[in-house]
Symmetry: C2
Subunit: 303 residues, 2 copies
Amino acid sequence: MPVLTVGSIAIDDIKTQTEEWSGLLGGSASYASVSASFFDRVNLVGIVGSDFPKQHIDLLQEREIDLRGLQIADGKTFHWAGQYEADMNRRRTLLTELNVFETFTPNLPEAYRTTPIILLGNISPSLQIHVLNQVESPEFVVADTMDLWITTARSELLELLKRVDLLVLNDSEARQLTEDDNLVRAGRKILDLGPKYVAIKKGEHGCLLLSRNEFFSCGAYPVEQLKDPTGAGDTFAGGLTGYLASLRRPVPTFADLKRAIVHGSMLASFCVESFSLERLKSLSRIELDQRYAFFRAMSHFDD
Amino acid sequence: MPVLTVGSIAIDDIKTQTEEWSGLLGGSASYASVSASFFDRVNLVGIVGSDFPKQHIDLLQEREIDLRGLQIADGKTFHWAGQYEADMNRRRTLLTELNVFETFTPNLPEAYRTTPIILLGNISPSLQIHVLNQVESPEFVVADTMDLWITTARSELLELLKRVDLLVLNDSEARQLTEDDNLVRAGRKILDLGPKYVAIKKGEHGCLLLSRNEFFSCGAYPVEQLKDPTGAGDTFAGGLTGYLASLRRPVPTFADLKRAIVHGSMLASFCVESFSLERLKSLSRIELDQRYAFFRAMSHFDD
């Protein structure tokens, strides 16, 4: 079943302690749609400026991502620059120029309106709701969010959560949203806000998945050559949503969601091994399946 | 097969943000031997003073721990006092009185010298070597250590590591010992120092187990009512060693070690639910097995 992904598409400039790159393809929708494309068809919704490089379009097309929902507007593409510290969990934003993204209204092409599986990437909750309102009868809705919206658009976010099946957010955001330091309790409080499932990302410590009655703790693949963590969360969300879509079941089971989480996590582990989408571009399904098998062996203890 | 455990036996005074207790049974050998006793016979080696309360002896005896190696010396028992911050990962030592522990020479009773499975709890590496020298032909040796010995007794520790099958230490200690921030690389460097296996504890984030060719990432049981983290590491080491002993195989497989790590981790998760050994005292084998089954379900994703 196809997946609809909406989010930002950006040109990134990234500095780490050892490398510096500019003009990279970035943004939540870019990472998420390429990641989801490993499993099923993807309908992308986003906006870029007239300066958007053809090579980035080419990359999305090579992944067979449907670009009918990609608006190309007069002006410049969203531009972000950031710098990572030696501890790559810490980064500083050097520049954020929203450009054409500032007035983005995600209107879906007619052909997208029956997409069954929806990934609402990290954009404002009111835009996420706007997208959802255009989908005829979504079967499973995944949403990502961030600290900014928890602070500045809390009521819209709470409105959105009533219509979301799986909310994905990181540990500090879960604590911020619920004002509870204990992640399991925080997760339960999030379920009380509407979602059937919540995935709480803990970076290098893996992630938790909760439903009302079930619990999954997913470790992290031990990445040895971490080059650039940008987009790891979006890649995770895209991969897990794409995997769910590929199951062709309107109502996934908790076991389906566990495996989806692991697939998303494996894709994220590849993503961070290089800058931008470089590693995902060269990744084969065989490499992905091998890493999944390795991860299974390192996580299971009683087969 | 019996397990020999050696380490400290202490009287602890512990303050948390909500409670304050004094005169508690503490020390690495107390936690480790009670934990190991869930699986097999335990030969305890340690020292206490003439002030040591009878109720603490009674507890050890109720667990059928062999106390022929427990020295009762004139003077006072090792006394430790500590205070936990709101973030229980942080604690302050308020008092350390070594007392009779200061001149402890762990001499094994004749009957202990053929014990096949050895747990060298956290005491100085030269005392750990002294114990090992008295064992006739140990089949599997587990050792714990701490930052103090890495700094002050590095050469003795390196000497010990050549004779250890499994080293257990925490993440900061692994980084300190190897001067490598990446835990997987740090683990491999520790294997180069002698041990066949290394278990790196990451507190609430679980632990890693490495051999030269295999890798296991163990999550942590989501403890909701953390009361007192004291002794969690010793309980973990004792539980895993006791479980290995109960398998009655001189050479455990990596799969055995995985399950041993999980059993140790489950015991540690019970330990921190109350002060001192209170929770372990009341713990039944059925409760332990139920938690193991829950943990299996929350960790496996592809059965």
